[in-house]
């Protein structure tokens, strides 16, 4: 039970990291808090649902479609919302209000469009995708749960874990191995200095904004498998969880998000196993504990200015 709980926490923690990654990137680059983050994740989940139901597109290739579509949607959305926000006297505080309103609009429109009932994608679809991948790699796999370090887990957990790890890796490659990434880090370090050196700050920020909501949409594709079902109202809970994850890890630091997600996941699973009635208190308890001990988050100072 102990080992299962620990491994489940690690896997689920990776998924929590993916949930928070986009939110953190946005904050790191633009110093704005996207309270509609969970709603973008919900829209990604509905996209996967409709892709599956209308075109029989498996959620795994659906990840790529969701990323591309939301990245493209994010660019004009950035120019519509953010430049004016950043020109304000207190953009960080105003972003709370703006994106809270935006969250309400998205939820209302989604409710009208999709109804209030829960929606899901059949669990077997993920197993079929895993079987196809296993066949390509010439690995033996029979559709069903998968063995991981001697324990059996739903294949979707492993898929979500792998996609999360890949997303983190790609974000690092983007930030540390590409020219655009260098520029992005320059904006993260100091927006004013970046402007003075001639960096097209809005272009860099727009791409980061697009990647941020695209990552949320990718996390959304796994919602039916990780969080049971999709509803238009799920965004708020997801935003709270994501916010807790990135604050625990440290705001503006992707590596901190991974650490925050894993810590959150492991703690959550242990709470579920041993004090299940109190499991929902965990995000707040962790937040309070981390903010009391290390107000800048677990990886606050060291990496933020790297």
């Amino acid at each position: 039970m102990l080992i299962y709980t620990l491994l489940a926490g690690l896997l689920f923690g990776l998924y929590f990291s993916l949930m928070g990654l986009g939110l953190n990137l946005m904050f790191g680059v633009m110093r704005i808090v996207n309270l509609a983050h969970g709603d973008f994740l919900m829209l990604g989940a509905f996209l996967a649902f409709w892709l599956f139901n209308l075109f029989a597109l498996n959620p795994i290739p659906g990840v790529a479609v969701a990323f591309a579509l939301f990245l493209l949607a994010g660019l004009p959305l950035y120019y519509l919302l953010v430049p004016r926000l950043l020109a304000a006297r207190d953009p960080e505080m105003l972003s709370f209000i703006l994106f809270f309103g935006f969250s309400q609009v998205i939820e209302a429109v989604a409710t009208i469009a999709f109804g209030t009932s829960e929606r899901s994608i059949p669990g077997g679809s993920m197993a079929r995708a895993a079987a196809a991948v296993a066949s390509l790699l010439d690995l033996a796999y029979r559709p069903g749960p998968i063995a991981f370090l001697g324990q059996s887990f739903p294949v979707a957990w492993l898929a979500a874990g792998i996609v999360s790890a890949l997303a983190v890796l790609l974000i690092y490659v983007y930030l540390y191995r590409t020219r655009l990434g260098y520029l992005t880090r320059a904006v993260m370090a100091s927006r004013e200095e970046a402007i003075s050196t001639g960096i097209d700050v809005h272009r860099v920020s727009a791409i980061a904004f697009g990647i941020g909501i695209a990552l949320a949409a990718v996390a959304g594709v796994f919602v039916p498998f990780m969080l049971g079902s999709i509803t238009p109202a799920m965004g708020v809970d997801v935003t709270i969880t994501s916010f807790a994850v990135i604050v625990i890890g440290s705001l503006g630091n992707p590596l901190g998000t991974v650490l925050g997600g894993i810590l959150y996941g492991v703690s959550y699973m242990f709470m579920q196993s041993y004090y299940s009635s109190w499991a929902n208190l965990l995000p707040y308890l962790l937040l309070i504990a981390v903010l009391l001990v290390r107000p800048s988050g677990l990886l606050g100072r060291q990496v933020r200015r790297a």
């Binding site: 109804g115 209030t116 009932s117 739903p154 079902s229 109202a233 579920q272 299940s276 499991a279």
Partner: protein, 414 residues
């Protein structure tokens, strides 16, 4: 002379005043809440839509007959969206009573959103028309301002389930039972009842796992693994629809199989569960057999096939699924219609008396309406059934009590 004339005028005014007060209102104001979003939307909207179906039907006929005015009066529904939020619901219940001054106060669906209405209605001396809020703590001898209309109080719900496990279970080899429940008034009360029934049965059946989880729980995989470790012969999972969906999906994805699994919502909202879990995921699951499946002899209002046809005509878009909660909302309307037709006044306690007078006498699509002294529903019972998947079709087999059984339980479940 002038004095006499004035006195005569005042006297005639005094005579006229009671007549004006007894004049029929232009409309009867019903105040209700619903949740168009949030965790309880999928159980709230069917109830709301079911009641709307009744209300629109009645208004098309010119309203409902109100005995005290000896005529039909149209109904006006003032309904607000609480978005599944108890804080918002509390504010809106107050608004319905103090600002809108409704004649009849109707709670939102489910125990969580009803719980905040109970003290508010009581403090304002308004009779709370509790539709499906079944928490046992709502009903106390010192509170006459509540009446549960559409499903039995939670202490009654699991009786057939517990009786089956303690009476038939040992014969089938069921000795160890695991129970996991969402910690809210609805399922928490049922969990308490199951615990009590098993303990009092002295049947040798024991609870080997008994854990509560927050109602917001969306992943049960680790918990399923923990339950499996106790090697139970039967598993009871008590939650709302999203809980049951998550549990059943996680169970299928984990590859874990329990010989006996009971969940509430596969029976109550079968279409919704089938959409999310698939017919195979529901095959063999034990559940309640609600009035949306069991065709009761209806002596007032539409019967089940008629109601289902009317529902499909009105809400064929599929955004709100047909299920027990649809029947519940319609039943609310039927009980109110009967009560208004017999109440001596629109005073809240007179309405209560009229509703209590229906106890044991009213048979609707939802079964026999019967109340205990505290206003809790004890009539519309929920037999135990087992689901059988035939392709994509789900069929109910009622297995307990024997008097209403339509088949035998399959144990271990397929």
């Amino acid at each position: 002379m002038i004095r006499h004339t004035l006195l005569a005028a005042l006297s005639s005014l005094a005579l006229v005043t009671p007549a004006v007060a007894a004049e029929a209102p232009a409309e009867i104001k019903l105040g209700a809440l619903y949740a168009s979003s949030g965790r309880f939307a999928s159980i709230s909207m069917p109830v709301h839509d079911g009641m709307m179906l009744w209300l629109e039907q009645k208004n098309a006929e010119g309203g409902v007959f109100v005995k005290v005015f000896n005529r039909k009066i149209p109904l006006k529904l003032i309904a607000y969206d609480d978005q599944s939020n108890t804080g918002t619901a509390a504010t809106l219940y107050n608004q319905l009573i103090t600002q809108d001054k409704v004649d009849i106060l109707i709670a939102d669906s489910g125990s969580v959103l009803t719980s905040v209405a109970v003290p508010i209605a009581r403090d304002n001396k308004m009779l709370l028309i509790d539709q499906t809020g079944t928490g046992a703590t709502f009903f106390t001898p010192d509170n006459p301002y509540i009446v549960l209309l559409d499903d039995p109080v939670s202490t009654i719900w699991p009786k057939p389930l517990a009786d089956f496990l303690t009476q038939e279970g040992p014969k089938l080899g069921i000795k160890k039972v695991a129970m996991i429940y969402a910690t809210n008034d609805f399922t928490g009360t049922q969990a308490n009842a199951v615990r009590k029934f098993i303990k009092e049965s002295n049947s040798g059946v024991e609870l080997v796992y008994d854990q509560g989880v927050p109602t917001e729980t969306s992943n049960y995989t680790v918990l399923i693994n923990n339950i499996r470790a106790t090697q139970p012969d039967a598993v009871i999972e008590l939650g709302y629809a999203p809980n049951d969906i998550a549990f059943l999906r996680n169970l299928a994805d984990s590859g874990v199989k329990f010989n006996f699994l009971f969940c509430i919502y596969p029976g109550l909202e079968t279409d919704l569960l089938a959409k999310n879990v698939g017919a195979a995921g529901l095959n063999g699951v034990f559940t309640y057999v609600p009035s949306s499946e069991m065709s009761y002899e209806s002596e007032f209002g539409m019967n089940l096939p008629q109601f289902k046809a009317a529902w499909n005509k009105a809400y064929g878009h599929g955004k709100v699924e047909f299920g027990f909660n649809s029947v519940a909302g319609y039943t609310t309307g039927l009980v109110l219609e009967k009560a208004l037709a017999t109440a001596d006044s629109l005073d809240q306690l007179a309405l209560r008396k009229a509703i209590f007078d229906l106890s044991g006498k009213l048979k609707t699509i939802d079964g026999t309406f019967e109340l205990n002294a505290e206003g809790a529903q004890i009539g519309e019972i929920t037999p135990l059934g087992q689901l059988a998947a035939e392709g994509e079709q789900i069929k109910f087999v009622t297995v307990w009590p024997f008097a209403v059984a339509t088949g035998k339980p399959i144990y271990p479940a397929p």
